[in-house]
């Protein structure tokens, strides 16, 4: 239209965009550095009070250290430290993509009933001894949790594909699921023995002490398998945030993308919940932190969600074992206490809109 070219900086847009991208890469690097520091702290701190030198010795020359040191570092601290990272990342990414495909800032595995379903499945195992998949009784608790989480996720998905079902309806359905599964859980708790009750309560509160190497590997593998799927769809997922019609007009197959994403999310959300119990806050707040820091371009938003979730849970892990030295506080309780201050700083300190 106006034929007059902008006088100063013909390429202003391009250069400003490059600067913006660079700033985001710096932010992501800072998050990664903070995460590394937090994991190191998680590895270094503990009631056994080993020195940093001893920790390094056991990390790199484990054959030269005492059994106890090696077990503390390799079998007790490291699985927990790494589990915090994988679980935090998984839940945060699951929440981020749930918010993306449902276009709702309140969506998360926790708020849409997937965590509640998993808790119920686990309680079914802990209280009634019911195995939903009879083959693997030894892993009854995580498998039950996973099966129920999957059922809830698929229910949400198929409801979302029904005609006339809007995004708002989905959130309402999710809330209904939360209440349903919580009610079923209470029913089970009501029937439970004290011993089972204590286990259920501890499980629903979430705890990283359940971490073991196989669980770390499984969660890491799920993450490694799903992140590339999201990465490949980065532009399409970002487009979804401009509205369904707009995304479709960009050539995105919205229905297929939603189904793929929902299935991937349910895997990402169910596995960690089934291993470590309900950790509610990360899946909701991790993505919001990421969004406030780098916006919603998935090329930055996705890694930022991974890092924010992992960092949040890793710091929580450090805090949960330092508040009461020697004891373990349920991490689900600490996450919110650790995360809320961060969150407030971002909400009130950032010019960016939160949603």
């Amino acid at each position: 239209m106006s034929v007059v070219a902008a006088p100063a900086g013909v390429l202003a847009g391009r250069e400003r965009y490059r600067a913006l991208a660079l700033r985001r890469i710096v932010l992501l690097s800072a998050l990664a550095a903070a995460l590394f520091a937090s994991v190191c702290a998680d590895m270094a701190l503990g009631p056994a009070n080993y020195t940093i030198a001893e920790i390094f010795e056991s990390l790199f020359r484990s054959e030269h250290v005492s059994d106890q040191l090696r077990v503390v570092v390799w079998d007790i601290r490291m699985p927990i430290a790494l589990m915090a990272v994988t679980v935090g990342a998984s839940l945060s990414v699951a929440g981020a993509q749930m918010q993306t495909i449902l276009a709702n800032p309140l969506a998360s595995p926790f708020t849409l009933g997937i965590s509640a379903a998993a808790s119920f499945g686990a309680a079914l195992a802990l209280v009634a001894g019911t195995a939903l998949v009879p083959l693997a009784v030894g892993y009854m608790v995580p498998i039950n949790a996973f099966v129920m989480a999957m059922v809830a996720a698929l229910f949400i998905h198929f409801a979302s594909t029904m005609r006339g079902v809007t995004v708002e309806t989905i959130v309402l359905l999710g809330i209904a699921l939360v209440f349903t599964f919580n009610a079923l859980l209470s029913l089970l708790e009501y029937l439970a023995s004290e011993q089972a009750l204590a286990a259920v309560v501890f499980w629903t509160m979430g705890s990283l002490t359940k971490a073991t190497w196989p669980k770390v590997f499984v969660t890491a593998a799920v993450l490694a398998g799903t992140l590339p799927l999201f990465a490949r769809q980065a532009w399409a997922l970002t487009a979804l945030r401009l509205g369904e019609d707009k995304a479709a007009s960009f050539g995105v197959n919205v229905r297929r993308l939603r189904l793929q994403t929902m299935l991937t999310i349910s895997l990402l959300a169910a596995i960690p919940v089934s291993f470590v119990g309900t950790i509610g806050f990360v899946g909701l707040v991790g993505p919001h932190m990421a969004r406030m820091l780098v916006g919603e371009d998935q090329r930055f938003f996705l890694p930022a969600s991974v890092l924010c979730g992992a960092l949040l849970l890793s710091v929580t892990s450090v805090v949960s074992k330092t508040i009461l030295p020697g004891a373990i506080l349920p991490i689900g309780v600490i996450t919110a206490l650790v995360g809320v201050p961060f969150f407030f700083v971002l909400i009130f300190g950032s010019r960016r809109r939160a949603w």
Binding site: G46, P47, A48, N49, S66, D67, Q68, V71, V72, D75, I76, R77, L126, V127, G129, V137, G138, M140, V141, E189, Y190, L191, A192, S193, E194, Q195, A196, L197, A198, A199, F202, W203, S207, T209, K210, T212, K321, L324, P325, G326, A327, I328
Partner: protein, 379 residues
């Protein structure tokens, strides 16, 4: 003898029924329960609801001849939490299979209507259900229909509340004498430990008391300075988690066990097949398979948290029946723990014999060992 006992029981039951229908005979007694509430109860009580099935542990001790004759309803936890004891009673008293049951009184949420319909003279509740019971307003509701509710406690502060609880129930049942005998036996059994410890003042070993080890993947639930934690202290040990866990129950960082390097480890266990089928728990209890229990206890010592600790190296790892934690038979546990901690001091103390005597003097069942196993050499 058995014939005579049954005859006596029937006569007693008939006499009691006769007394019950003669209103003038039953007196109203004012009792004070463990919370300090004064409650008016028509004694002796003939119809009792047990707020927890495991209250049969003390009911049987007082009503040895016919432990279930007063019970009109109970919570359904005994069969699951302590299947061995339940089946032993069921075998002897098949009628208990048909006793009306309640679920979840832990939550204080029993069905008041059902309770009222059973027309109990009293409802016995455990202290730990107090908050929930009060929140639900059951006491007021029950008061309106004239059903008193009293709290007993063998769990929150067992060392303080066991005697008053036994005395209270003795009074309600009209079995004051039996209750006093029981209390005397308990005192004497505990003194057998504490007197020696006071006199000898031995070095106190550090003990890690693991709650329900192997019940779930989580390591390691333990006790603060109450319940089993307290019992360890009374038995002459130092409870490792005393200063770590602020309340009665809590979870210890597995690494803390390695850091503290306890001299002894005691794991509570029970047959939890009903809750965690095939779980790693140690199934000690009434008539339990000790060889199997020892094998499972051995397996628990292979967990990372127990790597290289003194207790495992020296074999000072023991398992004890979990249900002692809410049970008037706790004094037997104290004796056994004392014997584990100070084998030389208590060479002549025989907890098994104490338990046997407890059964012989107070309980309707025949004693069967299996409540304790140990990896210690010589056992």
């Amino acid at each position: 003898m058995r014939l005579f006992r049954r005859f006596a029981a029937i006569t007693l039951a008939m006499a009691v029924t006769a007394l019950a229908v003669w209103p003038g005979f039953a007196a109203t007694t004012t009792v004070t329960d463990v919370t300090g509430r004064t409650v008016e109860v028509k004694t002796p009580v003939e119809r009792v609801i047990l707020g927890e099935g495991r209250q049969i542990y003390f009911v049987a001790a007082l009503d040895r001849e016919a432990p279930f004759h007063r019970i009109v309803g109970w919570r359904d936890d005994l069969a699951k939490a302590d299947p061995e004891t339940y089946s032993a009673y069921l075998e002897k008293y098949p009628a208990i299979g048909k006793l009306p049951t309640f679920g979840g009184m832990k939550d204080g949420t029993f069905d008041v209507e059902q309770a009222v319909a059973l027309k109990p003279d009293v409802i016995l509740m455990n202290l730990d259900a107090k908050t929930a019971t009060e929140e639900a307003g059951y006491i007021e509701t029950l008061k309106k229909v004239g059903i008193p509710l009293v709290y007993v406690d063998f769990r929150e502060k067992p060392m303080v509340n066991t005697e008053p609880s036994m005395r209270l129930i003795g009074k309600l049942f009209g079995k004051e004498k039996v209750a006093e005998d029981f209390i005397a036996f308990r005192r004497q059994s505990i003194s057998a430990v504490t007197d020696v410890l006071k006199r000898e003042n031995p070095q106190r070993p550090l003990v890690f008391m693991e709650r329900a080890g192997g019940y779930s993947d989580d390591c390691c639930m333990s006790f603060g300075d109450e319940n089993f934690g307290k019992m360890v202290e009374i038995a002459g040990g130092i409870n490792m988690a005393k200063d770590i866990i602020p309340g009665t129950f809590g979870t210890v960082n597995p690494e803390q066990i390695i850091a503290s390097n306890p001299d002894q480890v005691i794991v509570t266990g029970g047959n939890w097949e009903g809750y965690v089928p095939g779980g790693a728990w140690v199934g000690v209890g009434y008539g339990a398979d000790e060889a199997l229990a020892r094998k499972k206890l051995e397996a628990l010592t292979k967990r990372p948290a127990f790597t290289g600790i003194k207790a495992v190296k020296t074999g000072e790892v023991h398992a004890i029946w979990h249900q002692f934690y809410n049970n008037p038979y706790q004094f037997v546990a104290i004796q056994q723990i004392a014997k584990w901690l100070h084998p030389d001091l208590f060479r002549d103390l025989d907890p098994d014999a104490t338990f046997r005597e407890l059964y012989a003097r107070f309980l309707p069942l025949d004693y069967k060992p299996g409540y304790f196993v140990s990896l210690a050499r010589g056992e």
